[in-house]
């Protein structure tokens, strides 16, 4: 593994029964970069993300998070790897029976020994980071979709992860709110030096935040293009990549 890879996917093959979902995928993510996994619907983007955060086991291949091979490591090492990552799920996945502040406090209460007052301060700081400092007492059902995404982001950032995984962070949001989320991602990346790995197919977001992109193909189940968003747009040599970028620009 390269010294400069914070996440390293090596020859990953994923199958559900006989159905091949991903075929021999390899790529690396460097520290502090914003890396986007791109692809059409059904291309296996979210499946790849679920394997990168250890929720599923691949048919073959390895996923290394900061040099820990999470596909074949002990529970202790897997736990260490989990402490290095934060995840924002597509649905935000906030616990519906808990207030936003309780949701953000959840990982801090579980993994640290700070006093209640200190945790309340830290939760306020995390909520302020995403602009929700006045909404700590609200339940997830009482806030908008964009606010849920931001609250989910605050929870994902609660333990200052080294790598932040975002699954469709701006899906279903209006352009203004989506742009706010993009700006937040850039701020987090620049100010907290967090590596960000995003799964999306929103072109506007990709051009706003991505430094490097890989594109998955539904037919071959492989990576068909990689590079900066501008490279893929201006120098595409695969018909699907050209169609994907030109149709939406």
């Amino acid at each position: 593994m390269s010294d400069h890879a914070v996440a390293d996917v090596q020859n990953l093959t994923v199958k559900y029964g006989d159905a091949l979902i991903l075929d021999n995928i390899s790529f690396t993510v460097r520290p502090q970069e914003i890396f986007v996994i791109l692809g059409g619907s059904g291309s296996g983007k979210s499946t790849l993300l679920r394997h990168m955060i250890g929720l599923e086991q691949p048919a073959s291949g390895d996923v290394l998070i900061d040099a820990i091979n999470i596909t074949r490591c002990s529970d202790r090492d897997f736990y260490t790897a989990l402490k290095k990552i934060g995840v924002l799920f597509q649905s935000s996945a906030l616990i519906s029976s808990m207030t936003l502040s309780e949701n953000v406090a959840l990982p801090i209460l579980e993994f640290t020994n700070f006093s209640k007052r200190s945790i309340e301060k830290m939760v306020q700081i995390k909520l302020a980071l995403v602009g929700l400092e006045r909404y700590g007492g609200y339940l997830p059902s009482e806030i908008s979709g964009g606010m849920k995404k931001r609250a989910g982001l605050a929870r994902a950032l609660a333990l200052n992860p080294e790598i932040l995984f975002l699954d469709e962070p701006s899906a279903g949001l209006d352009p203004v709110t989506a742009a706010e989320i993009d700006r937040l991602i850039l701020d987090i990346n620049q100010n907290l030096k967090t590596t960000v790995i995003i799964v999306t197919h929103e072109l506007a977001s990709i051009f706003a935040v991505a430094q490097r992109v890989i594109m998955l193909d539904k037919t071959t189940k492989q990576i068909i293009a990689q590079g900066s968003p501008a490279d893929l747009r201006d120098r595409c040599d695969h018909p699907y990549v050209c169609k994907f970028f030109k149709r939406q620009i």
Binding site: A67, S97, T99, T112, N113, F114, S115, K121, M122, L127
Partner: protein, 379 residues
């Protein structure tokens, strides 16, 4: 190679008059927070500390959690700003440390108002909730009637394949549990009653007792309670899940009547299979009694069966089946109603399922009492 989190090291020295100097090298962040706190607390807590100076020149990584540890320590030692100094600290750590001193806290719970106000608002909220429940009930009954009229006018609108599916899940799939429980109840009743009846040489009346009590009372009730736990809760959970995931809204926008689409097939299936399940339960309970009669009471199988048939009549059978018909409407209706009433997130599904079972069982007992009163006047 596995990367673990590196920990800081400390050099702690005391000038002798309560003036402490702490040299920290290594990270001062989330990963070292617990270690830092415990090391510093142990070293400083038993000493008279008048001031602490932290030399942070060798600190390699910092974040808000590192600053929070220092802030907690300062509060614990009750030191003023002048007596708790950070030397050679990275600018970002100083900023975080200052912020920790001034940052407000956020309550992890929902803000609560004072008790009197809470009582009034709770009373109001409960009243409104009860009125809403009544409104929902009336609306649901009205919707059922309208759907029934629609089905009568256009029988093709009835989703017959759904009815068959629910007949299987509510009836056929429940056969083993209903059969087993009824068999055991018949067995227990026969055994317990035989202890008394044996003294009078009235063993044969065990058959009458089991048959009559099961057919007219326990059979319908036990079957209804089992079905409400199995299927009533499932109806509520399925419909409430559809409600909170906007599937019911989608049905409405596609022009479907959600009551006709979701409630009517379930209710028809329940009304068909619950009386059948009740008869099945009666048979198994009688079989349980028969086992005790033959093995412990010296009765022959034929005399037990003859006594059972003689003690029953068509009225008793119809009475029990009428009850199970009413219970079927209650269980399926309440299950569907609670599902449609669900609001909010995932907890609403659990609440709907629980509420469906509790309400169904209460209504089953209530209506059984009404049946008993009616029967007492009937003669």
């Amino acid at each position: 190679m596995v990367t673990s989190f590196s920990l800081p090291s400390f050099e702690i020295s005391d000038s002798g008059d309560g003036q402490w100097l702490v040299r920290v090298s290594g990270p001062l962040n989330i990963h070292s927070a617990d270690e830092t706190r415990s090391r510093l607390t142990v070293s400083l807590k038993n000493n008279a500390v008048k001031s602490v100076v932290f030399d942070l020149e060798q600190v390699s990584a910092v974040d808000e959690y590192g600053a929070l540890v220092l802030s907690e320590l300062k509060d614990r030692l009750a030191l003023s700003e002048n007596n708790f100094q950070l030397l050679n600290a990275p600018e970002i750590l100083v900023q975080h440390f200052r912020r920790m001193a001034s940052e407000s806290t956020v309550s992890l719970r929902r803000p609560r108002s004072f008790a009197g106000y809470e009582f009034i608002t709770q009373t109001g909220a409960t009243t409104i909730e009860t009125l809403r429940g009544i409104r929902d009930f009336v609306t649901f009954i009205g919707a059922l009637v309208l759907s029934g009229i629609r089905v009568a006018g256009k029988p093709k609108s009835l989703r017959t394949h759904d009815i068959v599916r629910y007949m299987k899940t509510t009836g056929v799939d429940a056969l083993p549990v209903v059969g087993l429980i009824s068999f055991l109840i018949g067995l227990i009743m026969a055994f317990m009653s035989s202890l008394q009846l044996k003294q009078f040489g009235a063993n044969i009346y065990v058959a009458s007792l089991v048959a009559l009590s099961m057919v007219s009372e326990l059979g319908p009730i036990m079957t209804a309670i089992i079905v409400s736990g199995r299927s009533g809760s499932a109806y509520a959970a399925e419909i409430s899940t559809m409600k909170i995931s906007e599937e019911i809204d989608a049905l409405i926008t596609m022009g479907f009547d959600p009551v006709l689409f979701l409630a009517i097939p379930r209710m028809i299936a329940a009304v068909i299979v619950i009386p059948l399940l009740t008869m099945f339960a009666n048979l198994f309970a009688i079989a349980g009694g028969l086992l005790i009669g033959v093995t412990m009471l010296d009765l022959s199988a034929s005399s037990y069966i003859t006594q059972t048939i003689n003690s029953l009549n068509l009225f008793e059978l119809n009475w029990g089946l009428s009850k199970s018909f009413v219970f079927a409407i209650l269980i399926s209706g309440v299950g569907c109603l609670r599902g449609f009433q669900a609001k909010g997130g995932a907890s609403a599904v659990g609440h709907a399922a629980t509420s469906a079972v509790v309400t169904s069982i209460f209504l089953i007992v209530l209506f059984d009492s009404i049946f008993a009163v009616v029967r007492s006047y009937w003669g």
